[in-house]
């Protein structure tokens, strides 16, 4: 159908141009020698191409098995944090870990899709939606494993035998100190409604980040829907993940984050960004990044080993120091308060007990719809 038009391009020549397509026009009067000279090169490449194709075809097939490929870890944590743990784990056990990192809300859909396809690909996973992990545990989708390390975590923040939090996902206000003075910065959640912040704020996408969705659920349950509606009128720039939101306040494109996972901010501060956190005295929402093993994992032994490692005091301390996370492990030195961030023990959490989170979970679809209508 298009051929008829194409042929215009081929057939004519107006002197400016173009001997392109010359080789195609064999029947149109090109001297045959020209083509004959090209054939050897072409057939050479043809053979190389065939050999390459055959080789890689085999290669394709060999990529099917997952059990023999080391440990695959699905993660909704920051990719630099995953990179860190993968390296530490390899150094201490000699086992290489491949991590697949994506926002919690998308990661869970992917895991569900794989379940539908009858595929379990990863041997360990951490997600930011604990309510879903509990649901999976009850449905028998999780492998039962009680890591000896999990005893060091408060029992009300874990589901014994199934999942344990690898860090708290505390959500705070954050701002860029180059653009906003400390005395002008918002002090409470209500301060975000001040007209001066209109068009100045950013936040993460609840369609991407599980923690962002929990923030919405918790804030809404405490401040009511009308507060969220007023906030939505502040023209907030929604960024995908927490990494992108952090970049947005660092660049100053929007100097204030209405909500941000604070370990991303602390990690950026450690790298020299002039950022500050605000944790209002009335409390902040917090979700939990929880780790577990899927039933039918291709490599359950390695998965268990990795869970032990992730919950260990070495891994937890390392993340606190390099990634700015807040560990929930009770026997390690808590992360130092800095730049407006309180120590975990001084922090008042808002609508963020495991019970609260489980209560919000069945409403996830409605909450998402509402969030989308307001902010996206």
């Amino acid at each position: 159908m298009l051929g008829r038009i194409d042929s215009h391009v081929d057939v004519k020549d107006d002197g400016i141009a173009n001997d392109r397509g010359g080789a195609r026009r064999m029947s149109m009067g090109h001297p045959p020698g020209k083509d004959a000279a090209r054939i050897s090169r072409r057939s050479f490449l043809y053979r190389v191409g065939t050999a390459g194709a055959a080789f890689s075809g085999l290669n394709l097939l060999s990529r099917e098995g997952f059990a023999d490929q080391g440990l695959l870890w699905y993660s909704a944590s920051a990719s630099s944090a995953d990179e860190d743990w993968a390296r530490m784990f390899r150094e201490s056990t000699g086992v290489s870990v491949e991590y697949f990192r994506i926002g919690g809300v998308k990661l869970t859909e992917r895991i569900e899709q794989e379940a539908r396809a009858g595929q379990v690909r990863c041997s360990v996973m951490d997600i930011s939606i604990p309510g879903l992990m509990s649901t999976w545990a009850r449905k028998g989708v999780l492998l039962q494993y009680d890591s000896p390390e999990s005893a060091h975590y408060p029992v009300h923040l874990r589901m014994p035998g199934y999942w344990t939090p690898i860090n708290a996902l505390t959500l705070s206000i954050a701002y860029n100190g180059d653009h906003i003075k400390a005395e002008e910065a918002p002090k409470t959640w209500e301060d975000l409604l001040a007209p001066k912040w209109k068009g100045k704020m950013t936040m993460s996408d609840a369609l991407y980040s599980g923690a962002a969705l929990h923030w919405y659920a918790a804030m809404r349950s405490v401040y009511g829907k009308s507060f969220m509606e007023k906030l939505a009128k502040q023209d907030i720039l929604v960024r995908n993940g927490s990494g992108e939101t952090t970049d947005t306040i660092i660049s100053g494109e929007r100097p204030l984050a209405a909500m941000l996972l604070d370990y991303y901010v602390v990690a950026a501060i450690k790298k020299g960004a002039n950022l500050y956190l605000v944790q209002p005295p009335e409390g902040i929402p917090s979700s939990y990044e929880v780790i577990g093993i899927p039933a039918g994992a291709p490599n359950p032994q390695l998965g268990k080993k990795f869970v032990d490692f992730a919950l260990s005091s070495a891994a937890q301390t390392h993340w606190e120091n390099t990634q700015g996370t807040q560990s929930l492990r009770q026997d390690i030195v808590a992360a130092k308060p800095e730049r407006g961030r309180r120590a975990m023990k001084d922090l008042k959490l808002m609508a963020s007990s495991v019970d609260d989170i489980e209560k919000f979970f069945p409403q996830q679809r409605e909450l998402l719809d509402e969030w989308i209508t307001l902010f996206k």
Partner: protein
């Protein structure tokens, strides 16, 4: 050609292997193309409990957000089409019909889609025109104190970037038509006293109008299908289009499968509608001024204006290629993106990260190259078979074959992906989670590109060659293997290169179909963007550009790759 058909008819026996191949090919195309559509249609009319329900369509057309997405899709498609047609026609006229200097340079416009992708273009324009941090906007503030010249996160930004990438299609079609037009018509107008511009307006333009319209319809389809540009530029500005809404409905937990399917069917209807119109238009047209003789069209003498015209044309090239590619490259060798280019900010760390420290990127490079190598090879062979069956063998039903092979042109990548996802996720045959689902998606999506490339070159091979092979007692399959295929090599090689490049950069189907460990290049670039890994993604994008240029340079040196319009659908 009919003689060939007759020969085939006489020679056919009851178990003609050719007939078997013919039927098998048609069945294969049905599985590739019709099956996912059927699954999609079914999915769109099933409620959550599996009963028949039109609730998803109701939600698709009555919710304000979805309605807005449909409207935005049409606005973007019309906007991009109008701009691409205006710029493309102008460029074609300047190159073919004026004495503008530097016409050869401007002709490079046709290479734009080879060099970079709409995704790369959109990301580059963020670096240049993001309201606060974009370089051009920073320069603007430096001069004027505040504000910005243009906000790329807007519907105009989307239209701007899409138009840049779709202009070459119009340029190619219109310049082809302008070249082959009979110049005596214009001469008649001129000698009857009409001026140069009146002649251009009243004679030249109407003559190339069919080509312009054909280009416009293709651009319209491609703009409606575009995922990367609205995903990157529209999402922050809360501008939703159908492709991004489909992606959203399908990829977040809990997924709304039915809504995704209903929106997909809507987008499919828009794109297929465009395709049918396009076919009608070409079918009905009879502007038979295309003469076999190499007529030299008259060139308009522009005088002093020629340099202004050149400047305008070069501006297009700068905006479409030079600026984006240079920006992406500069960003890839720096630690941060600021307006002051200090020496200590330059680094190769982004490349070492991509090549050695970021496993997903390493895997993506390998996977994309494997898919491109194996996929392009398999696809082009299938395309050669289809061309041969539909143009030469002409068994009953060859028209179906021809039509089926062109349908994917109106099959948006993301819609195909939603269809494939549901088609191949449940037993008995689970392709989900394997590299084969990407393979099937790419093969289906780019079938028309390959078939057109092969058919164009098949049309130039005289059937006598095959007839003599048949007359000497060879079977059709032997003839295909030993006569047709070798003669087709140049067309096959050109098509292979196009497919290879297309496969290394496919995004809109891959984004729903890839799996962990089976990442591909564009997906990793897009994910890095979502994570805020802008420097790293620029290194990867630069590699993607380099791969494309290298493959095309090699292909051109051995086959003189034709820059025909099919090349324009690489996206």
């Amino acid at each position: 050609m009919s003689a060939v058909g007759d020969t085939a008819g006489r020679r056919r026996t009851r178990f003609d292997p050719l007939l078997v191949v013919h039927i098998a090919t048609i069945l294969l195309l049905c599985v590739l193309i019709l099956y996912p559509v059927a699954i999609l249609l079914n999915q769109s009319v099933r409620g959550d409990d599996g009963s028949l329900s039109f609730g998803w369509y109701l939600q698709a057309y009555t919710s304000l957000r979805n309605y807005q997405a449909i409207l935005n899709t049409l606005i973007v498609a019309f906007g991009a089409t109008a701009s691409a047609v205006a710029i493309g026609t102008f460029l074609a006229w300047a190159v073919v019909r004026t004495d503008m200097p530097g016409r050869r340079v401007v002709e490079l416009a046709s290479l734009v889609p080879f060099i970079s992708t709409p995704l790369i273009g959109a990301l580059a324009w963020i670096l240049l025109l993001s309201p606060q941090t974009g370089l051009i906007n920073q320069a603007w503030r430096f001069v004027y104190g505040s504000g910005s010249i243009f906000n790329i996160y807007s519907i105009w930004g989307i239209i701007f970037v899409e138009a840049l990438y779709e202009t070459p299609l119009v340029f190619l079609l219109v310049s082809g038509a302008l070249r082959s037009m009979d110049p005596t018509l214009e001469e008649a107008s001129l000698s009857s006293g009409a001026g140069v511009f009146k002649t251009t307006w009243r004679v030249t333009l109407p003559l190339v109008l069919p080509s312009i319209l054909a280009g416009a319809l293709l651009v319209f389809i491609l703009a409606a299908e575009q995922f990367a540009v609205p995903a990157v530029l529209g999402t922050p500005a809360k501008i939703r289009v159908l492709t991004t809404s489909i992606f959203e409905a399908q990829s977040v937990y809990p997924a709304r499968d039915g809504l995704a399917a209903a929106l997909s069917v809507t987008l499919l209807a828009i794109a297929l509608g465009g395709l049918v119109l396009h076919k009608r238009l070409l079918g009905a047209r009879s502007y038979a001024t295309v003469a076999g003789k190499a007529a030299r069209p008259r060139r308009v003498n522009l005088g002093r204006w020629r340099y202004l015209l050149l400047a305008v044309c070069v501006l297009y090239l700068v905006l479409a290629v030079v600026l984006p590619v240079v920006t992406i490259f500069l960003s890839s060798i720096r630690t941060i993106w600021t307006a002051d280019f200090r020496l200590e900010q330059f680094t190769l760390a982004n490349y070492t990260r991509v090549l050695f420290a970021y496993p997903a990127a390493e895997r993506a490079i390998v996977n994309s190259l494997i898919l491109a190598l194996v996929g392009a090879t398999a696809t082009i062979l299938l395309c050669a078979l289809i061309s041969f069956l539909s143009q030469r063998a002409r068994l009953p039903g060859h028209k179906i074959l021809d039509t089926l092979a062109m349908v994917p042109m109106g099959f948006p990548g993301i819609v195909l992906a939603v269809g494939l996802l549901h088609a191949w996720i449940t037993p008995p045959l689970v392709l989900y989670g394997t590299i084969w689902i990407l393979f099937v998606a790419y093969m289906t999506r780019y079938l028309p590109v390959g078939v057109r490339s092969v058919s164009a070159s098949l049309a130039q091979i005289h059937p006598e060659l095959e007839e003599s092979s048949l007359a000497s007692g060879a079977t059709w399959l032997q003839t295909f293997r030993h006569v047709t295929l070798p003669l087709l090599k140049p067309g096959i090689a050109a098509g292979w290169a196009l497919l290879f490049v297309a496969f290394t950069r496919e995004l809109s189907a891959s984004i729903l179909l890839y799996s962990p460990r089976l990442e591909v290049l564009s997906v990793v670039i897009y994910d890095l963007y979502q994570e805020g890994g802008f420097r790293t993604l620029c290194a990867l994008a630069t590699l993607q550009v380099v791969i494309a240029i290298a493959v095309l340079a090699i292909a051109r040196s051995i086959t003189r790759l034709d820059q025909s319009a099919e090349a324009q659908e690489l996206r």
